[in-house]
Amino acid sequence: MELIKVWDIPGGVHPPENKTQSLLEPLGPLAIAPQLILPVSQHIGAPAKPIVEVGDQVLGGQVIAEADGVFSANVHAPTSGRIAAIVEHTVPHPSGMTDLCIILDTDGKDDWTPLSPWEDYAERNKDDLLARIRESGIAGLGGAGFPAAVKLNPRANHPIDTLIINGTECEPYITADDVLMRERAQEVIAGTQILAQLLNQPERVVIGVEDNKPEAIAALRKAAEGSAIQVVSFPTKYPSGGEKQLIQILTGREVPAGQIPAAIGVVCQNVGTTAAIYRAVRFGEPLVKRITTVVGEALQTQRNIEVLFGTPVNFVLEQHGYQHKKASRLVMGGPMMGFSLPDLSVPVVKTTNCLLAPSKKELPPPEPAMACIRCGMCAEACPVELLPQQLFWYAQAEDLEKLETHNLFDCIECGACSYVCPSHIPLVQYYRAAKGEIRQHRIDKEKSDRSRRRFEFRQDRIAKEEAEKEAKRLARKKAAEEAKKKLAEQKANTPAEPKPAAVSTQDTDKQRAKLERLLASAHERLKKAEQPLAEEATDEQAEKQAASIKQAQLKVSDAQKKLDAFIASQGENNRQASSTEANDPVAAAIERAKAKQTMSPEEKLRNSVESLQKRLQKAEQKVIEAKDNKPDMVEALQQGVDKLKDKLSAAQNELAELTPAAAAPATPANATPDVAQAAIERAKAKLAMSPEEKLRSSLESLYKRLEKAEQKAAGAKQEDSDKAEALQQGVERLKEKIASTQKELAEATLSTVAEETPQDPATSDAASLAIEKAKAKAAAMATMSASDKLRNQVDSLQARLEKAQARLEKAEQENDDNIDAFRTGVSKLEEKLATARDQLAELT
C-alpha cells in the first residue's frame, strides 16, 4: 500500500465517540409499518409532484411523485399498498414545519413492480446511467440530500480530477455508514467505479474513512484490490466528515467561499449514496430504504436497521423498546449536528442517518448560558477558522454588517464551538438566527431597491408625459392662433367679397375642418381640465385647475360660436350651391360631437373605475406593507381598502348599466343641446364641487407628502443624520396641515350636505375616507337644532374665510396669478357668512 499524504484541518474537537453500542447487534431489517408517510421533498431543491390519487393501489418501486426539474428527485412507493391521503404532515425539519406528504397504507404483501436489471451496466453510456440514477430518486444520503445526478454531471468548465467518497462518519453515535462499508464493501466499490466512469475516470478516486473504523477500512481495501481506488484513513476528529473538511484533508485544497467543490475539480459523494447508485444502476432498484442507526440509552435495543422511507419514527422506536420517560430528547441525526424532533410522528426520510434517543444522563439538558469570557476555546475549535466569540458578540448586537465581514456565512454549523464553550453559550443557534436575519434583510433590501427603481421609473415617465403634453399644448395653441388669424382675415374678406361662392368648396372645407378641430381641441382641453387632479396636486394646482377650466369653457363657447357663425354664413352659400358635399362635414362633426356626448358619461365612469382600481391596488399594497412594518396602521388601511372596493363595485355597476344604454343606438334628438353647452354644464357642476374636491385632493397630496417625509425622517434617523430633526419638524408641520385640511374638508362636505347639494357620483370619485367622517358628522348635526347648525356653519365659515383671506394676502404678496380666484373665493365666503349670520339672527 502506497503511503498517501493527508492534510490536517484546523480546529476540531474530540467528543466521546459512543459508536460501540450500536455495533453490538448486527444490521437488522425492520417490519413494514402499517402506514408510511412520504414527504414529496426529501432532498434539496424543488419538491416532487405527486402523480397518484387518493385511493390508488400502488406497487413497491412505483413512482408516486415525479421530480420537478433537474434539482429534484422522484419519490417511489417503498412497498405495495393504497394511497390513503395526500396531505400536509409534520416532516423532519428543525422548525417542526409541515409539508406535503403522500400517506401510504401498506398491505404487507410487498408486491413490487418488475425491475429491469442491467447486467451490462459497465457498457452503458453516460446519459443512460445518469437518467437511471435520476429516475431512481437518489439524493445524498449523507446530510443535505443533494440530488445525486446533479453532482455527477458537472459543468464542462469544471474538469474533475478527484472523486472523493465520504465514509468519514465523524459524528458520535452514528455507525450507519460504518455498517454499510463493513457489510457491503463490494457495493460501495462498484458504485465508486460507476461514479468514476460517469466523471470520465478522474485521476484520483479516494474513499476517505476515519481511523476509528478499522473493520470498514479493511473490508473496503479488500474489495478495492486491483482497482485504482484508494482507501485512505486519517485521524479521527470532528468534523472531518464535513464535505469541505474532507476535501481539505484528502487534497489539501479548499473550496473557495461561495463555490462548489467541482470548482476545484472535486466531486464528493457519501458511501451510502454510492452504494444506492450501484443498486439502482445494476438492479434498477429505486431508493426506498436506507441504513439508519437507532441508538441511545432510552432504548432497549440499540442497533442499525434497514428501514423503509416513510416509516414513522415512533414505529421505529416502539420496535426498539423506547422508554419515553427516560429520554431527555429525541434527535434525528447525530448529537453534534442533528436536530431535536418536535413530534414522534415524523417519518424516516432519505437523509435520516440516525435516531438518537439519549437518556437524561447521556445528554443532559443544556446548562444555562453564562457570559462569554472570551477564552478563545471556540476559535480554537472552529474548523473553518472563524472567531465564534466575535460572531456571537455581533449576533447579540445584531450588527449584521460585522457578521458578514467576519464571514458568518462560512460557518458550517458544525457545533464544535458550542461544544467547547465553557460558558455553555448556544453559539450555533445564534449563528442560525443571524443567518436567517441577514437573508431576510437581503430579501427586504432587494425588494425596497426594486420598488425604489420602480418609483424612479414612474417619476421619469410622468415627467416625460408632462413634457410631451406641454409640447402638444403649445403646438395646438399655435395652430389655434393661426386659425384665428385666418378667420379674421376671412371675416375681413367676406364683406369685401359678397359672393362667397367664389370661395372654392375646398377652402370652405378646410376652414370648417379647422374650426371643427378648434372646437374638438377645446373640448379636449376642457375634459382634461375636468379630470381629477394628478396625485401630486397641491392646493395651488387645484386653484389653477379651476382657472383653466374656466378658460377652457370660454374657449369652447368661443369655438362653438365661431363654428355656428361659420355654418350660418355657409348655410346660405350651401343652399345656393346646393352642395351636399359641403354639408357633409358639418353633419359629420355634429354626429361626432353627439357621439362624444353620449359616450362621455360612460367614458367618465370607465375612467373613474380605472382610477379606482389603481387606487385599490395601491391601497392593498400599502396594507400588505403595513402588515410587515406598521401593524397598528393595518386596520385603518384595511378599512380604506374596503371602502374603495365598495366604491369600485358601485362604479362598475353604474358602468354596466350605462354601457348597454350607450350600445343601443342612442337616438340623437335633433334638439340635442349643443355639445359645448353640455360641456359647460358639466364644468359648472364641477366648479360647484370644487372647493370640496380641491380640499380632498389637497388632503390626498398631503398624505402622500407626509408619507414621503416620514420615510425620509426615518431614514435620516437611522443614519443619524443631522437633518433628522429638521425632517421631523417638517413631518409635524405636515401633520398639522393635514389635520386642518381634514377639518376644512369635513366642514366643506358638511355645508354641501346641509345645502342638500346632490352629489354627483361620477365626479366625486376622488372621495376619501374623510367624506365618510364628514357624513357621520353631518348625521350627528342633523339631530342638532337648526340654530346650532347655523351657529356651527357660521363658525366654520368664519374659519374658512380667515384662511382664505390669509391665502389671499399671501398671494397678493407674492403677486400670484391666482389672486383673482382667491378674491372671488373670499368674497363668496363673505357673502355666505353674511347670509348665514342673517339666518341665525332671524332664528334667534
Binding site: P172, P335, M336, I373, G376, V384, E404, E413, S418, P422
Partner: protein, 350 residues
C-alpha cells in the same frame, strides 16, 4: 434574535466556566505556597482577604443590579481576581489597601463596564495600578525573603502590622529588580556578591526565583489542562527574553540583567500565566494573542529598565488591554475558502 430552542450540538464538553476559574485558582497554589514559605503569612493573608472582599463586592453589586447572586458568584471570576490581586500586593500591607484594591477591581474595573466578559481591562491590574499611584510608599515595600532575614514575621506580628498598623522592624528588603535598578554603579557580578537578596539566591535572587518557578509550574499545569492556549504567555516570555538578551552586555553597571534574571524575578511568571492569559481583556485570535503577548513582553522590559517603576507588568498589561481591540481588527484569521484574511474594518456592500 429569534426564539432559541434546544438545538445542536446536543452534547457538550464537561469543562464549564466555573471549572476553568477554579482550575486557575488551583494553579496559583504552588506559587502562593512558595511566597508564604519565603515571605511569611503576608501573601496568604492578602490572598484570603482580597478574595473574600472581592466576592463580597461582587455579590453586593449583583444584588444591586438585581441579578441572581449565586449564579454569578458560581463562575468564580471574582475569586480569581481576588487571588491575583492578593498575590500581586506586597505582603503585610495594611488591610484597607487590600480592601480598597478589591473594591476598585470588582466595582470600578469590572462591574461598571458591565460585569464578567465586558471589562476591557484586567481588573486586578487596574486595582494594582490605582494603588501603586495613590499609595506608592505602601506599595513598594516588599518583605525580605527568609534566606536573608533569618526569620519571617510571626502570625501575631503580621496581624498587628496589617490590622493595627504597628510596624514590624526591618522586615522589608529591596527586591532583586530594585537592586539591579539602583545598582549604585556596580558591575552586576559585584552587585550579586554584595547584595544579600541577590547573593542568597541560587540563580536570580533569594525567594523570587522559587516563587517564579512555582508560578511557571502552575502555568504549565493550566496549559496541560488546555485552560488557555500557549500563544500569549509564550510570546510574552519570548519577547522579554529577546529584549533582555539584546540589551545584556555581560554585566556592566548599566546592564539590565540577564535573560534568566528577567524571567525569574519580579512578577514575570505570575504575569505570563495568570495575567496575560486573562482572556477577557486580551486579543482573541491566535495571531492576535501572539502579538498581544509579545508586545507585553517588550513593554515589561522597557518599563523595568527605562521606566520609573521597578516592575512593569501591570502597566504593560493595561497598555496592551487598550490595544487589544485594535489588534483584533488586524488579525482576523483567514477563513476556509478565502484567499486572505479579512480586515474587520472592511465594509460589506449592504
Amino acid at each position: 434574535m429569534a426564539l432559541l430552542r434546544i438545538s445542536s450540538p446536543h452534547t457538550h464538553r464537561a469543562l464549564g466556566t466555573g471549572a476553568v476559574m477554579r482550575t486557575v485558582v488551583l494553579a496559583t497554589l504552588p506559587g502562593l505556597a512558595v511566597l508564604t514559605y519565603f515571605f511569611g503569612v503576608g501573601s496568604l493573608h492578602n490572598v484570603l482577604l482580597a478574595s473574600i472582599t472581592a466576592m463580597g463586592f461582587e455579590a453586593a453589586v449583583m444584588k444591586l443590579r438585581g441579578r441572581p447572586v449565586w449564579f454569578y458568584l458560581r463562575d468564580c471570576s471574582a475569586l480569581v481576581t481576588g487571588v491575583l490581586l492578593g498575590l500581586a500586593l506586597p505582603p503585610y500591607c495594611p488591610w484597607w489597601l487590600v480592601v480598597l484594591g478589591s473594591g476598585v477591581a470588582i466595582v470600578l474595573a469590572k462591574q461598571l463596564y458591565g460585569g464578567m466578559g465586558f471589562n476591557p481591562f484586567n481588573p486586578a491590574m487596574v486595582a494594582y495600578v490605582v494603588l501603586l499611584i495613590s499609595f506608592p510608599l505602601h506599595m513598594s515595600q516588599w518583605a525580605a525573603p527568609l534566606d536573608i532575614g533569618g526569620q519571617t514575621p510571626g502570625v501575631v506580628q503580621a496581624l498587628q502590622q496589617i490590622w493595627l498598623g504597628t510596624s514590624i522592624d526591618g522586615y522589608t528588603a529591596a527586591t532583586p529588580l530594585d537592586t539591579v535598578k539602583q545598582n549604585s554603579g556596580l558591575m552586576l557580578n559585584d552587585l550579586y556578591l554584595q547584595d544579600p537578596v541577590l547573593s542568597a539566591g541560587q540563580f536570580v535572587g533569594a525567594g523570587w526565583e522559587w516563587a517564579n518557578l512555582a508560578f511557571l509550574v502552575g502555568g504549565a499545569y493550566l496549559l496541560y489542562r488546555r485552560i488557555f492556549t500557549w500563544h500569549a504567555p509564550v510570546a510574552m516570555l519570548a519577547s522579554l527574553s529577546i529584549m533582555a538578551f539584546l540589551f545584556y552586555d555581560g554585566g556592566s553597571s548599566t546592564s539590565g540583567g540577564s535573560v534568566l534574571f528577567h524571567l525569574f524575578s519580579g512578577a514575570t511568571m505570575l504575569g505570563a500565566f495568570f495575567i496575560v492569559t486573562d482572556p477577557v481583556s486580551s486579543a482573541v485570535s491566535t495571531r492576535g494573542r501572539l502579538i498581544y503577548g509579545a508586545a507585553i513582553g517588550v513593554l515589561i522590559y522597557v518599563i523595568r529598565i527605562w521606566g520609573n517603576y521597578p516592575d512593569g507588568i501591570a502597566f504593560a498589561v493595561l497598555l496592551m488591554n487598550f490595544a487589544a481591540p485594535f489588534i483584533d481588527y488586524y488579525t482576523l484569521p483567514r477563513t476556509y475558502g478565502h484567499k486572505k484574511s479579512e480586515r474587520a474594518t472592511r465594509k460589506v456592500d449592504q
